[in-house]
Amino acid sequence: MARYLSPKAASLVLAVLLIVAVAVVTLVCSQLSGGSQRVATDAMIKLTIVVGMYMFAGNSGVLSFGHISFLGLGAYSAAWLTISPSIKASLMPGLPAWLIALELHPAAGTVAGGLLASAVALLFGLPLTRLAGIAASIGTFALLVIFYATFSNWTPVTGGQGSLYGLPTFTNLPIAAGVASLTILAAALYQASAAGFRLRGSREDPIAARAVGIDIRRERLIAFVISAFFVGMAGALYAHFLTVVVAGEFYLKLTFITVAMLVIGGMRSLTGAVVGTAFVTLFSELLRQTERGFDLGFVVVGGRLGLQEVGLSAAMLLALIFRPRGITGGRELGGLGTSR
């Protein structure tokens, strides 16, 4: 039936189905213990990150290693805008006086985090979108390192290696799930839009795309800026979830986990981004339980730190080798959104 819907209608149906899934998970988890709720909240934030990354990477075909920088920007914005002035004055004396004096509501800080990430994405995207293929991916990686080095060394403004504490607790499961749903809706609308469609054309065949009038740089830049906005918001939520901001969070580990979610699920579809996040979260939880060690009856397998990561990277390698298009094969749920 999917094929008889207009692209916009199909993607709205898709978004609704995925959001219903998010809502069900949220409802179920909200009945569970506090620990499970935290896991679910964390997963919803990751979902926002991964769906945000998907908007750019999935539609353009250019894998980005730099989006975690946008997450960091969002988190630091939250810290700059919502920590109380007295703590700010001692932790981040390098901030301008007006900023130290400012104390916004976390919701405002979250939107500001998204906007800052978008602005930075525009600035770096202008040169970055000139690059093609592997050079583009390397460029996004350079972005990651530049921001990590800045976060962890600009002590008067970011707290450097230390942690910024004193963020108000704001992010809970419903809020995280709500923002994740919003992101899914935005991704679905974007991919059905003319701009998203043109970007997917450039992913399929850049030369043919130019020959039908598509300005690839422009389309990539649009997607880069939009996707940075949502990842930036996720960063602020993440900061209000952990209530501390530490530079070390915004580097290789989280990059690896989110890229793994995207690749394992299938980076060419929105459904893939959602499924990948769900799969990796469950798989990691399973491994985390195992990490504590368990009794096999005849032998006690000792818990091992690192098992979770080893399992995850092994799963990712297997996915690349045996299912290079991910669990979903790059298809949308029920064939909604006709292109794969």
Binding site: R3, S6, P7, K8, A192, S193, A194, F197, R198, R200, G201, E204, D205, I207, A208, A209, R210, A211, V212, G213, I214, D215, I216, R268, G330, T338, S339, R340
Partner: protein, 510 residues
């Protein structure tokens, strides 16, 4: 439909266009006019620069000199995506559809590309698919289409920008004769419907001659002839551009050592009913060829005839669909390329493919991987250098700096160092100056006289027929004609087998 030829407001024009890549002149001094409402054929042998010219006209290649004007507006500095927005549509040699998208989406993309909304573009796309008669296939994924359908969708996509000018790069390549005939009426109908100027590059001469109002012929990057199809067909310079000049003096026709072919002894290479498909395209259908021990055999055919495919199959770079290749009495099946090289099959690839970042000596050394004793290797190396004295003086220089002729010699020398029993060559005359071509052929004749078995693929028929003992004419993946080289040179059936029509009479037959 008549328009003033000088009216640049309604034409796509190139003036003095030249494209130079690192010293090589791919195009030089090209003038071209494509008026709305006319169909212009662009033909020429392989390497003539036709696709480069289409790339210049559509903004994918910036000309080194000269200008292109679209409806009287200079296009200098335009990005490729600006051309379609001003009414220039094009197709590609490989259809280049968006593989994971449906047929409808492929065509819709072009409308969205030039700025329509998705719903407008979708309606337009549906209408175009209906017009092309493939509406029933609109929800099929492009990569699942048959080849002929892919090409048609490619044209449909170009139509979706509502073209004032349409550039078609080999639209009939890989089509069956019936499909090609349908395409012919289709293109004429498109011209009338859109009132657009259409430029067609084609190797299918029959199609060009029937379809076009005017034909422009390129060879070695220059225009060598322009005019009506009849004028061009009977123009001897055109025939020579394809087949090579008929040498009467100065070149020795090779003395044939064994004029009668050794049909009784087992041939060194025997190919029977070979079929090769690339996806849905049949590149070779039931080709049978035999090469006797010590024989010099040429396979002659225009671009796209399947010559390179044939060599790839023999060298083990391409897998055969069905049929057998036997070599030296045994079948070749799953042996890898490297193993075949060790068995004595060496290929000099099309375009030479020398390794330009390696020195001449290193290029030669990698050909030597199969040798066992040091002494043998050294002697062999000396022998080869003896044959190619130019290379000796350039041993330490980078191979990329050699001239085209020298590179061809290097490619042959590299193959010889593997001590082949069978030497395969793919268009060794491609892109070389006539004098260089002579010297390459002298080398080949000498090697043949030395007892080496040679299988040569050529477009330049006259040159090949003068050197070879025996020849096959390959067109559209089938052997059309074969016989003794001497006989083929004067065979009246030859032109028809090669071009599909008789150049002497200018008659197009089916």
């Amino acid at each position: 439909m008549e328009r003033n030829a000088g009216d640049t407001r309604n034409s796509l024009t190139a003036r003095g266009v030249g494209v130079h890549f690192e010293g090589l002149r791919a195009l030089e001094g090209i003038d071209l006019d494509l008026a709305r409402g006319e169909i212009l054929g662009l033909i020429g042998p392989n390497g003539a620069g036709k696709t480069t010219l289409v790339n210049v006209l559509s903004g994918f290649q910036e000309p080194s000199v000269g200008t292109v004007e679209l409806d009287g507006q200079p296009t200098t500095g335009w990005a490729p995506h600006q051309f379609p927005r001003r009414g220039l549509g094009r197709t590609f040699q490989a259809a280049r559809l968006f593989p994971d998208m449906t047929v409808l989406e492929n065509v819709e993309m072009a409308g969205v590309g030039i700025g329509l909304s998705r719903s407008q573009a979708r309606d337009g796309a549906a209408e175009i698919l209906d017009y092309l008669g493939i509406a029933a296939r609109q929800h099929v994924t492009a990569s699942a289409l048959a080849y002929g359908e892919q090409r048609l969708v490619g044209i449909g996509r170009a139509l979706a920008i509502t073209p004032r000018y349409l550039l078609l790069d080999e639209p009939a390549a890989g089509l069956s004769p019936q499909e090609a005939a349908d395409l012919l009426t289709r293109i004429t109908a498109i011209r009338d419907r859109y009132d657009c100027g259409i430029l067609v590059i084609e190797h299918n001469m029959q199609l060009i001659m029937k379809l076009c109002d005017r034909v422009q012929v390129l060879a070695r990057g220059k225009t060598i002839s322009k005019g009506s199809p009849t004028q061009v067909q009977t123009d001897q310079t055109v025939r020579e551009a394809y087949l090579g000049a008929t040498h009467q003096t100065g070149t020795r026709v090779r003395e044939r050592v064994q004029a009668t072919v050794i049909q009784d002894t087992a041939p060194l290479l025997k190919i029977e009913d070979l079929v090769v498909d690339y996806g849905s395209v049949r590149a070779l259908s039931n080709v049978s060829i035999a090469v006797g021990d010590g024989e010099f055999v040429a396979v002659i055919g225009p671009n796209g005839a399947g010559k390179s495919t044939l060599l790839s199959a023999i060298a083990g770079l391409t897998r055969a669909g069905s049929g057998t290749i036997s070599y030296n009495g045994g079948p070749l099946a799953s042996e890898r390329t490297a193993a075949r090289v060790e068995m004595g099959i060496a290929l000099v690839p099309e375009g030479r493919r020398i390794l330009s970042n390696l020195t001449v000596e290193e290029n030669l050394r990698i050909g030597q991987t199969t040798r066992r004793s040091e002494l043998d290797a050294a002697r062999r190396f000396e022998d080869v250098l003896e044959r190619f004295p130019v290379l000796r003086s350039r041993l330490k220089g980078y191979a990329g700096k050699l001239s085209g002729g020298e590179q061809q010699q290097l490619a042959i020398a590299r193959a010889l160092l593997a001590e082949p029993k069978l030497l395969l060559l793919d268009e060794p005359s491609l892109g070389l100056a006539p004098l260089m071509i002579d010297s390459v052929y002298e080398t080949l004749s000498a090697l043949s006289e030395g007892g080496l078995t040679i299988l040569l693929m050529e477009q330049n028929a006259n040159r090949a027929l003068m050197a070879a003992d025996r020849a096959y004419v390959l067109r559209h993946g089938t052997v059309e004609l074969d016989g003794q080289a001497d006989a083929l040179r004067v065979d009246p059936a030859f032109d028809r087998a090669y071009f599909g029509f008789d150049t002497r009479e200018g008659v197009v037959t089916n």
